[in-house]
């Protein structure tokens, strides 16, 4: 009898303890079948930031209460993290490159790991980290000094730690890696340090590099003619990518060419900067590309996370890709072929008359930066920046965190940048901020970009959106508001001021049968649920 009690007690204890889940690749492929968890940076491989959870609804969301809060010990910069949640364990990061496992029921810390960083070079980017990837029994994180590290999911012990690129040259990583079948993909930042952009693929078990795709050609290589006589630089892959397991294609955006606000030295389209690349992960080859902003001069990277979805266009079922670009246009592409299907501005933009039949922008003359400053919308920070959009397969709407702001773009005095250094006289902006700017959560018809509703914000925000099957859209503001909107109408349903700017994408998960919503404000991590 005593033995039975002991076993029962052990079982009860085991049930109470968080379980460190195994996450085989197939489980991530089918992540939509287990909405309690949030298994990739974007929630699923399609990067939809959509959760099938339905416990929170427009009827009850006003009852949300704080469940727990967590504060990292000494976050060194802006907190921009988006966690992964597996079977009651949350894997989350804080700046610059610390990984922590928390009990998702309580916020209790289980383990934490930080790299040893010395003389970090971070040019043109914040020293922050946006999240991890999980695969099998490992957590993968990329660090600000451009390492890729595999940690044991149970203990945080380092399994391998490899150098992706030379940080002294300006390569730095803030993005979450993407884990697919036995492979880890990661890009870097550093276009402002004039580095040559690339996307890398590593063996998940060993950390051995399997391939590297350069995003800009070396002098003399194919496409180098799109750069005039200059040495191609920039095109870094500094944000998250998406994946279609059936097509077996990876989708990744690329950043601006260097130098930025003066394109005189690099006449041509500057391939493959400000573009979307569709990559075969087995061959390590680009299958197709779509360049959003040829010969870009406004710092409008195309590194926003792509969102994959399926819908019917002109009577035919299509595999699609939605992309809200920093340049102010929303694009719909066929993700199997790269064919341009639709495109429309989703904010005020004053640099292009529109897009031609192939999706190439038709520039308005004299909208380039000038020595005295040229007023152009959107601003340098773009119509959206690094944050993620969401897509609901129920409403078929694309929810974007739009930034309505213009800038006087000042042309740089230099046409050549030195790798690893930032030149004086690069140019920049005088932003029309404050009362001259605003933000909005906008719901776009995903197949066309046509706006269905908007909810205006006091200022342009840096939060991203989260959509749920319960019929909600969550986002936040620079003034500290965290809020829920009705996914169909945009009507505000609940809000709370968390006292500091929100700078991270919200996510939702379920633990112990309760649906929770996670977001960060300032340097505190908040989790809300119904009482």
């Amino acid at each position: 009898m005593r033995a039975i009690r002991f076993v029962l007690a052990l079982l009860a204890l085991a049930a109470a303890l968080p379980a460190f889940g195994q996450v085989p690749y197939q489980r991530v492929v089918k992540s939509d079948s287990e909405p309690a968890n949030w298994l990739t940076y974007g929630g699923n491989y399609y990067d939809q930031r959509f959760s099938g959870l339905k416990q929170l609804t427009p009827q009850n969301v006003a009852g949300l209460k704080l469940a727990w809060a967590y504060q990292p010990t000494r976050p060194a910069g802006n907190v921009e993290t988006s966690p992964i949640v597996v079977d009651g364990i949350m894997y989350v990061t804080d700046p610059p490159s610390t990984v922590t496992a928390l009990d998702a029921h309580t916020g209790n810390k289980l383990w934490t790991w930080s790299p040893i960083l010395k003389n970090v070079v971070a040019i043109g980017l914040f020293q922050t980290n946006r999240g991890v990837a999980v695969l099998d029994h490992r957590v993968y994180v990329a660090t600000i000094d451009a390492h890729l590290v595999a940690l044991d999911a149970t203990t945080g012990a380092v399994i391998w730690n490899i150098v992706v690129a030379d940080n002294k040259m300006g390569y730095a990583i803030t993005a979450a890696p993407l884990a697919i079948d036995g492979k880890i993909l990661i890009g870097t930042g550093g276009s402002e340090a004039a580095v040559r952009g690339f996307l890398d693929c590593y063996d998940a078990a060993t950390g051995k590099r399997l391939w590297r795709i350069w995003t800009v050609p070396a002098p003399g290589e194919p496409d180098a003619e799109t750069w005039g006589d200059s040495v191609p630089a920039g095109g870094t892959t500094w944000n998250a990518g998406a994946y279609d397991p059936k097509l077996n294609l990876i989708y990744w955006g690329t950043g601006n060419p260097a130098p930025d606000w003066n394109g005189d030295g690099r006449p041509g389209d500057n391939l493959y900067t400000c573009a979307l690349l569709a990559i075969d992960p087995e061959a390590g080859k680009i299958k197709w590309f779509f360049q959003f902003s040829p010969h870009e001069t406004h710092d409008w990277d195309s590194s926003e996370p792509p969102v994959l979805f399926d819908d019917v266009v002109q009577g035919k079922p299509r595999k699609l890709l939605g992309f809200a670009n920093r340049n102010g246009f929303y694009y719909v592409l066929d993700r199997a072929t790269g064919e341009f299907i639709a495109g429309a501005p989703y904010v005020k933009e004053t640099w292009a008359k529109g897009l031609d039949a192939k999706g190439r922008p038709i520039p308005i003359p004299n909208s380039d930066p000038s020595p005295e400053g040229t007023l152009v919308y959107p601003s340098i920070t773009g119509a959206i920046n690094w944050t993620s959009n969401s897509y609901s397969p129920i409403t078929k709407l694309f929810y974007v965190d739009a930034r309505e702001m213009g800038s006087y773009f000042v042309k740089g005095t230099t046409t050549k940048w030195e790798m690893g250094k930032f030149p004086m006289g690069a140019g920049g902006e005088r932003a029309l901020s404050g009362d001259d700017a605003y933000g909005a959560i906008r719901a776009l018809e995903a197949t066309t970009g046509k706006m269905k509703w908007e909810f205006r914000l006091h200022s342009p925000s840096w939060v991203g959106t989260l959509a749920t099957a319960g019929g909600l859209v969550f986002s936040g503001t620079d003034e500290g508001n965290f809020f829920a909107l009705d996914a169909v109408t945009g009507k505000p349903l609940w809000d709370i001021n968390l006292g500091s700017s929100l700078r991270s994408n919200p996510v939702t998960f379920s633990a112990g049968g309760r649906q929770y919503v996670f977001v960060t404000a300032g340097t505190t991590y908040f989790v809300f649920g119904l009482p």
């Binding site: 971070a122 020293q127 920049g428 005088r430």
Partner: protein, 274 residues
């Protein structure tokens, strides 16, 4: 300047801002002092544009980071130097430890030239008489000087260090025409300070005041008697923001020309203590 010292370079970057940050480099222990010669200011401008402008704007008027116009006057050289070289933990403001004390002083010297209209113009009135006009006109009911007065309008303890006679004269004759735009209480961006707001509630009650704070869901204003009023934006009939209008009355018809000159001279003399 040593050729091997890492160049602290600019910040015109990808996502948001942040400049060349070479952290954990031993910092020059020399105390930071503003460098204000024309040559130093010119160098400071170049360093500023390369290092700070991506977040704070090319004119330091604020962008993703707050406005820095007037910051050295408010904080002083030592605190400014500490922030520039050490950063502010938990925010996007990284430290620029590779800037020398001299270079940091040049950046601060450049910032001290911005956001001022306190130019070379000399006020022609009498400071002592102007103080009497200030006291007799009820200005202290709304403004604070050296800890005394009401807090409805901006504090004037250092107004003469920031604003010149022509600006002050305009402010007295047509209040609201040149409202300052600063990050102020708002965290980021160049928001209009003391913006006039007219709120009409759903029951038809209306309140006028200046904006104290605002977010996407709420607005808080201060009326002419100094009382605060908070509104949920979803619960009011309408909110009108009226740039150019002010709760401050014009003194165009209440002061004589000599009184106005004297009051301007007095205000222009207020340089305050740091």
């Amino acid at each position: 300047m040593s050729a091997i010292r890492p160049l602290c370079v600019a910040a015109l970057g990808l996502f948001v801002c942040v400049p060349a940050v070479l952290s954990q480099i031993p910092r020059d222990p020399t105390p930071v002092v503003s460098k204000t010669s024309p040559e130093d200011v010119a160098t400071g401008k170049k360093l500023y544009e390369a290092t700070c402008s991506r977040c704070h704007g090319l004119d330091a008027g604020g962008s993703d980071g707050p406005s820095l116009q007037g910051a050295p006057e408010r904080l002083g050289d030592e605190a400014m130097g500490g922030i520039i070289r050490g950063g502010i933990p938990g925010t996007g403001m990284n430290g620029f430890g590779s800037l020398s004390a001299e270079e940091t002083g040049q950046v601060i010297g450049y910032l001290r030239t911005l956001g001022h209209t306190a130019d070379t113009e000399i006020a022609k009135g009498d400071v002592t008489k102007g103080k009497s006009v200030y006291e007799a006109s009820g200005c202290a009911g709304c403004h604070i000087i050296s800890g005394e007065g009401g807090g409805v309008g901006p504090e004037l303890t250092r107004v003469g260090a920031m604003r010149g006679p022509s600006y002050l004269r305009t402010a007295l004759l047509t209040p609201g025409t040149n409202l300052p735009q600063e990050a102020g209480a708002m965290e980021r961006g160049r928001f209009t300070q003391f913006l006039f707001v007219h709120v009409v509630t759903k029951d038809g009650h209306s309140v006028d005041g200046t904006r104290v704070s605002e977010d996407s869901f709420t607005i808080e204003i201060k009326d002419a008697t100094g009382h605060f009023h908070a509104f949920n934006k979803l619960d009011v009939q309408r909110i009108e923001k009226i740039p150019g209008k002010s709760v401050m009355p014009s003194f165009k018809d209440t002061l004589s020309a000599p009184q106005l000159d004297d009051l301007v001279a007095y205000l222009a003399s207020l340089k305050g203590a740091q």
